[in-house]
């Protein structure tokens, strides 16, 4: 009997997740001429569209580093939206697998997170190169301990957010197919209600509420604060941090409850 925490079990789990996410990627770009390169081209094209509209046609651009800021935000948004959209279909898209082989019910939502995460990591290298080449005024103290901490904590909180949402959405989508169009709508609104294209003009006293509802905004603003000095970090504001933590805890509890309650009987509905 292999223990759940043994090296063999951890290695096997890692292998299954890797293969599942790699196969997801292959299926996604099947019959495509550019294939995997779409992972890089899509965010770049999205950036061009938004940049041409919001920096050229509409006077929204703030500062000389707007293009880089926009590109960075779009990468984070693409990661989030792609991962949750894949997560939504994690069970339905793998019906033939889940209904015929006993697998841990967390594997599909986790694999759905891993595939766009790999994409994001590769895209981040492109952003880093662009940042070094085009940043008008390179910040002096970018590689401090506090920045490193903020960077990893923010990435971790986005990952946690995606996995929690995937655990909920994947299960709910099996029971209620209305979840897909609703989530598409949430993503459309979310894009404009998250500080991606522009700063959201939230009154100060509503900020804790905003960051407790929009759980992507808090890590995104903090990540931007590392690379762009014009964007202050939110870690110092106790009310905002408390609001965000409450929102996150509520989401995690809801995700856990949803997963515990539905995942064991989800195959009956597939």
């Amino acid at each position: 009997m292999i223990s759940r925490f043994s090296k063999t079990h951890i290695f096997k789990t890692f292998e299954i997740l890797l293969v599942l996410s790699y196969m997801d990627l292959k299926v996604k770009y099947r019959s495509s001429i550019l294939g995997f390169f779409w992972s890089f081209i899509k965010p770049f094209l999205q950036f061009l569209v938004f940049y041409s509209i919001f920096a050229r046609l509409l006077p929204i651009a703030d500062g000389n580093d707007y293009a880089l800021k926009l590109f960075f935000s779009i990468l984070i948004w693409s990661w989030f939206s792609e991962a949750t959209t894949l997560g939504l279909n994690a069970y339905i898209g793998k019906k033939s697998i889940i209904s015929k082989i006993k697998t841990h019910k967390l594997y599909p939502p986790l694999a759905a997170y891993l595939t766009p995460t790999m994409n994001y990591c590769l895209n981040f290298i492109i952003f880093a190169a662009a940042y070094v080449c085009f940043m008008p005024a390179f910040p002096e103290h970018i590689f401090t301990w506090s920045n490193t901490l903020i960077f990893f904590v923010s990435l971790f909180s986005i990952s946690l957010l995606i996995v929690a949402l995937n655990m909920m959405l994947a299960n709910l989508n099996v029971l209620y197919r209305d979840v897909l169009p609703i989530w598409e709508l949430v993503l459309t609104y979310g894009m404009f209600l998250t500080p991606i294209i522009y700063r959201i003009p939230i009154p100060k006293h509503y900020e804790p509420l905003y960051y407790s509802i929009n759980l992507l905004a808090f890590p995104l603003v903090n990540l931007k604060s590392i690379f762009f000095t014009s964007q202050p970090a939110l870690f110092g504001d106790t009310a905002i941090v408390t609001g965000y933590c409450i929102g996150m805890v509520v989401l995690l509890v809801a995700a856990y409850y949803c997963y515990r309650k539905l995942s064991h009987r989800m195959v009956d509905f597939l």
């Binding site: 299954i16 196969m23 209904s99 015929k100």
Partner: protein, 255 residues
């Protein structure tokens, strides 16, 4: 070894459309009430059974009796409504005349996907992939997307992968008659190999000749959810009679 205690599985019939998020949100009380009122179908009712290690255990019964549901419950792909199943050993399932394949992926990708999910190491699969395709007689189709495979080809590939998964319990749902006569012989050879290795083999079949020849014990599930357990070959020549009269049979292990 498999120990089944008081196993019951029910499904909701869903004759009325109730799966609406709108009705859940707007009228949740009425929604809950209507959900509770949905008629249920009992697929397995209060089954107690022990399948010892190394036994060839056959399950038969008319269509809709619950044979495949029982196989899925043993495999762990679905969960019981009540009762428990204790499995001692790794299970290699082969359910519903189909396998865990993604039809958009190539044969080789499906070997990796299906293989790792069955617990085979990726390194092992890389090393033995040619053997798997050779066994399935699909050497030239490794890179072909699975959607272009015939159903027989898919089953052959699945069988070839399953034979590389080192399990202790094998479940075959109507599967040992895969492919042409040459491949069927291969399958039977594999089956004999599993039997000689003292693996537990659970077979769901309507093939009475096969059951008579190979099964140690037979479970007959009737449409009325009675279970008749019989030893073979003593009862081998009475199987037809057993199935037709099983609802009156008193050997029910469930009650």
């Amino acid at each position: 070894m498999i120990i089944i205690k008081n196993l019951t599985k029910t499904f909701k019939r869903y004759t009325v459309q109730n799966q609406s998020l709108k009705s859940l949100i707007l009228h949740w009380r009425r929604h809950k009430k209507s959900m509770d009122q949905i008629d249920t179908l009992t697929a397995i009712h209060n089954l107690n059974l022990v399948i010892p290690e190394g036994e060839v255990f056959c399950i038969t019964g008319p269509n809709g009796a619950g044979k495949s549901t029982l196989a899925k419950l043993i495999a762990g792909t679905i969960q019981p409504t009540s009762g428990s199943i204790e499995r001692q050993g790794k299970i290699v399932p082969f359910l519903e005349l189909g396998v865990a394949f993604n039809h958009e992926l190539s044969g080789i990708d499906n070997v990796y996907l299906n293989g790792v999910l069955l617990g085979i190491d990726l390194a092992y699969l890389r090393k033995h992939k040619d053997e798997i395709f050779a066994f399935a007689e699909l050497d030239t189709f490794a890179e072909t997307p699975l959607k272009y495979y015939s159903s027989g080809m898919q089953l052959r590939l699945a069988f070839a992968i399953a034979m590389h998964a080192k399990g202790e319990i094998y479940i075959f749902d109507e599967i040992l008659a895969v492919g042409d006569s040459g491949f069927q012989k291969k399958c039977l050879d594999c089956f004999h190999q599993l039997v000689s290795q003292k693996k537990t083999v659970i077979i769901i079949s309507h093939d009475l000749e096969f059951i008579k020849k190979h099964a140690d014990r037979l479970l007959v599930i009737t449409p009325q959810k009675h279970f008749v357990l019989t030893h073979l070959p003593q009862a081998a020549y009475d199987i037809n009679a057993l199935i037709s009269h099983c609802d009156q049979a008193v050997q029910s292990v469930s009650s």
